[in-house]
């Protein structure tokens, strides 16, 4: 703790910092105009990546609007939060993005949803709200009734900038795509088949989950957290629970943490196996799709047998888990995963024996380490582009032992690298599950849920889980009486911001392959 405070003091000597032990966070209050310098100093001086930025409407608490830029002090397993208050009459602030480019989408969200204006932001276009949303209405403001449906008010400004030039074709794709996939709009600027530029417009599945959680009971908020995304369901649910448990000062039992960890790895496995199969679809290798698809189906059936649900809904609960992994379930896990592990190894070997497939995936869709680092990419995407960060190692949670999480990193940043990172992580997951099952065998049965008690008022905490795609960050802020004041979710699918950088230079038909190599969830991003 004192180490973290000391580090922060060296780069921000002029600001007062305090240590919030429950949230493992150094809090630094700065005036609005000082935000870019303070954030820039932390990012550069402490090499601390931006974890999340959360904007809040605290006018009802007498504190105007709030901004919190939270950076990760990886070496200390702690965070530093640069916080500012904005005058409700003039809710603008100097954009941090020119100093910390990873802040770009957070500031655009704050502008859309709360009306906080980032001055000097290089790309202040709408992000969450589409262009027919009326100006001046901000859904996350406390005086906005979530049940209202404002009329559609088309503007002159279109969302896409596009690219012009002789011989340049503009190819719009979506939001509804050809296959069975979530919606999103992509605009290619292409000369022949060569892609010059790609722009994306997302948030078609924005359901207003963050607003719906405000003032809700923990139980109701948990069921919403579980359904932010179907395939990251357990990761999101556990992250929410961890934030709430940090606020309550409650720790689930060792047994509950082991159950969580085992099933979180099972979620990673069914996703990685399924994503490897889907990646083959991007290259039209149907044999890979179907063989991988059968493996994924076996894992989903395993999820249902041992956890009650094919997507692991209904497992996490604030304070623990709702059901145990009994001896029969553990035996089922061991037997089924042993078979899948061998089959997956054989499948990946067979894929790399297929020259046409290897040629498609090599050198395609390169995301450079510089872009990955600068724009704050996380997870598989980042690790395939040289950024060696994994929440299970840096901010360990549940039953994870950081010493058992070996870095799986590549530097090529192409489709092939992202496939291999998944394959190698899957191999590691099979071993982790065996470890957790062994410890469960030796742990006597006990309480699965630790009672939480009331949440403290006007405090905040983060819950972070390494989902199959990367870190899911859940920021929970309580208001008066400990009620849910603000629930901010920053999932790994914020990686969508870097996808357009991986496509230029490839050909248009490579886009499905590149997209499937990232395999980000739209629902996780859109909320």
């Amino acid at each position: 703790m004192s180490g973290a405070l000391g580090h922060v003091a060296t780069v921000l000597p002029e600001h007062r910092a305090s240590w919030d032990a429950a949230a493992r966070t150094v809090r630094v209050e700065v005036p609005g105009p000082a935000l870019p310098d303070a954030c820039g100093a932390v990012r550069a001086g402490l090499d601390a990546p931006l974890t999340v930025m959360t904007a809040t409407d605290d006018r009802g608490l007498g504190r105007g609007y709030g901004l919190a830029y939270v950076f990760s002090l990886d070496a200390a397993d702690a965070f530093v939060s640069i916080e500012a208050r904005l005058d409700p009459e003039h809710p603008s602030f100097p954009s941090v993005t020119p100093r910390v480019p990873a802040a770009h989408w957070y500031e655009r969200e704050a502008k859309d949803l709360l009306g906080l204006d980032p001055q000097g932001h290089p790309d202040p276009r709408r992000l969450v709200l589409h262009e027919d949303w009326p100006r001046g209405l901000h859904p996350l403001r406390k005086d906005f009734d979530p049940r209202q449906r404002p009329p559609r008010a088309p503007h002159a400004e279109g969302p896409i900038t596009g690219v012009r030039g002789e011989g340049v074709m503009e190819i719009p794709v979506g939001p509804i795509h050809a296959g069975i996939i979530e919606p999103g709009h992509f605009r290619f600027g292409a000369v022949g088949e060569l892609v010059l530029q790609l722009e994306a417009r997302l948030f078609y599945t924005h359901r207003g989950i963050e607003k719906a959680a405000e003032g809700a009971s923990l139980e109701r908020a948990l069921f919403l957290a579980e359904r932010i995304c179907g395939v990251c369901s357990l990761s999101n649910a556990v992250a929410f629970c961890q934030a709430v448990e940090a606020l309550a000062g409650a720790m689930p039992s060792r047994r509950a943490l082991l159950v969580r960890s085992t099933l979180l790895e099972l979620e990673r496995l069914y996703n990685h196996v399924g994503d490897i199969a889907n990646l083959c679809a991007g290259a039209s290798l149907q044999l890979g799709v179907y063989q991988g698809g059968v493996l994924r189906e076996r894992l989903q059936e395993l999820c249902e047998r041992v956890a009650g649900h094919r997507y692991l809904f209904g497992v996490a609960w604030p304070g623990g888990v709702r059901r145990d992994l009994d001896a029969a379930g553990r035996a089922d896990l061991r037997a089924t995963l042993a078979g899948v592990e061998g089959d997956l190894r054989g499948l990946v070997a067979a894929l790399f024996d297929t020259e046409s497939f290897v040629e498609r995936i090599t050198g395609t869709g390169v995301l450079t380490p510089e872009v990955a680092r600068t724009l704050g990419a996380v997870g598989v995407t980042a690790r395939a582009s040289g950024v060696s960060r994994d929440t299970r190692r840096i901010h360990p949670y549940a039953a994870y032992d950081p010493a058992r999480i070996a870095p799986v990193v590549r530097t090529e940043g192409d489709v092939r690298a992202r496939l291999l990172v998944r394959a190698d992580e899957a191999t590691a997951s099979f071993a982790l599950v065996r470890d957790f099952l062994g410890e469960l065998d030796a742990t006597p049965p006990g309480a699965l849920v630790t009672a939480l008690g009331p949440l403290p008022a006007e405090r905040s905490a983060l819950g972070i889980v390494e989902s199959p795609r990367g870190e899911d960050v859940h920021h929970v802020v309580t208001g008066r009486d400990g009620a849910l004041h603000r629930y901010r979710v920053r999932s790994a699918s914020y990686n969508w911001a870097v996808v357009p950088f991986a496509v230029p230079g490839s050909m248009v038909p490579d886009f499905p392959l590149i997209n499937k190599s990232f395999e980000l969830c739209y629902a996780c991003l859109d909320r």
């Binding site: 979530p146 069975i180 359901r207 995304c229 179907g230 063989q291 189906e297 989903q300 649900h309 297929t354």
Partner: protein, 259 residues
């Protein structure tokens, strides 16, 4: 290349025995609830814990399967044991109202199984082309729809297949709440389909919007913008239930009321 082919030739057939073999949920699986009326004492604990308001208890107990997200809380708090988790996946229905179960219908056993198998066998060979549309879901239903095309469930053996354009489609298979941001694209998709065209809503949020409160971003399900012919409850419904929904849409299945 040959390594892949060799692997395939060594493997057995992966396809399930459905529809000749109807699956039942494994022990402890979290499906939709079953209700034994004789045990209910109308204490209302179930209605109090339901996160979507799917249960109402007054002089009788009513459970809206269309708003049920299969969280299992009602069964956990039911002291008399009237509410348990059903062993069979819930059946698709043609109307929203048919998903709101009064006591007696839910208590009756489901005799559809034999009729379903006979009809499916009799009509193999007819074709149905399906356009998928995610109107704001969590993607659980979309992944289950994707699973209907895998080798285990193999939707294509029923003559059903997915197409890339609404112009080629007979059925629009809709997931999600009908969000504000997607609604226009959804309407355009439906408008682009030629007659005869059908709409099948898959999953709790496409049937009713649950658990996402309707408002500035989220709608009340597919019926907010489109005429829906079949409602498939569940969160998400399993691949076999989705196939059932498509078979019901093309008249290859009967609802309980129709028999």
């Amino acid at each position: 290349m040959f390594a892949l082919l060799r692997r395939r030739l060594r493997q057995r057939l992966a396809t399930s025995g459905y529809p000749a073999v109807r699956e039942s949920l494994p022990e402890g699986a979290r499906g939709l609830p079953a209700f034994e009326a004789t045990r209910c004492d109308l204490n209302g604990a179930c209605a109090a814990v339901c996160p979507t308001g799917a249960i109402t208890v007054s002089t009788r107990m009513a459970l809206d399967l269309g708003a049920c997200v299969a969280c299992g809380r009602c069964a956990e708090v039911c002291v008399p044991g009237a509410l348990t988790i059903a062993r069979e996946p819930a059946a698709p229905e043609r109307s929203r109202a048919a998903l709101v179960i009064p006591l007696t219908v839910l208590a009756a056993p489901d005799p559809r199984a034999a009729a379903l198998a006979a009809r499916a066998r009799a009509v193999l060979g007819r074709s149905l082309h399906v356009r998928h549309l995610d109107a704001g879901s969590c993607n659980g239903c979309d992944w289950e729809i994707n699973a209907t095309t895998n080798a285990v469930h193999d939707l294509q053996r029923f003559g059903i297949d997915f197409v890339a354009s609404p112009r080629h489609a007979d059925v629009l298979l809709v997931t999600g709440t009908m969000t504000r941001n997607l609604e226009l694209a959804a309407r355009r998709t439906y408008d682009a389909m030629g007659d005869p065209r059908l709409v099948v809503a898959v999953g709790a949020c496409a049937v009713s919007g649950a658990p996402y409160p309707a408002g500035y971003a989220s709608g009340e399900g597919a019926a907010s913008a489109l005429p829906v012919d079949v409602f498939v409850p569940g969160c998400p419904p399993r691949p076999q239930a989705i196939i059932d929904g498509l078979l019901l849409a093309m008249g290859r299945l009967e609802t309980r009321a129709e028999r």
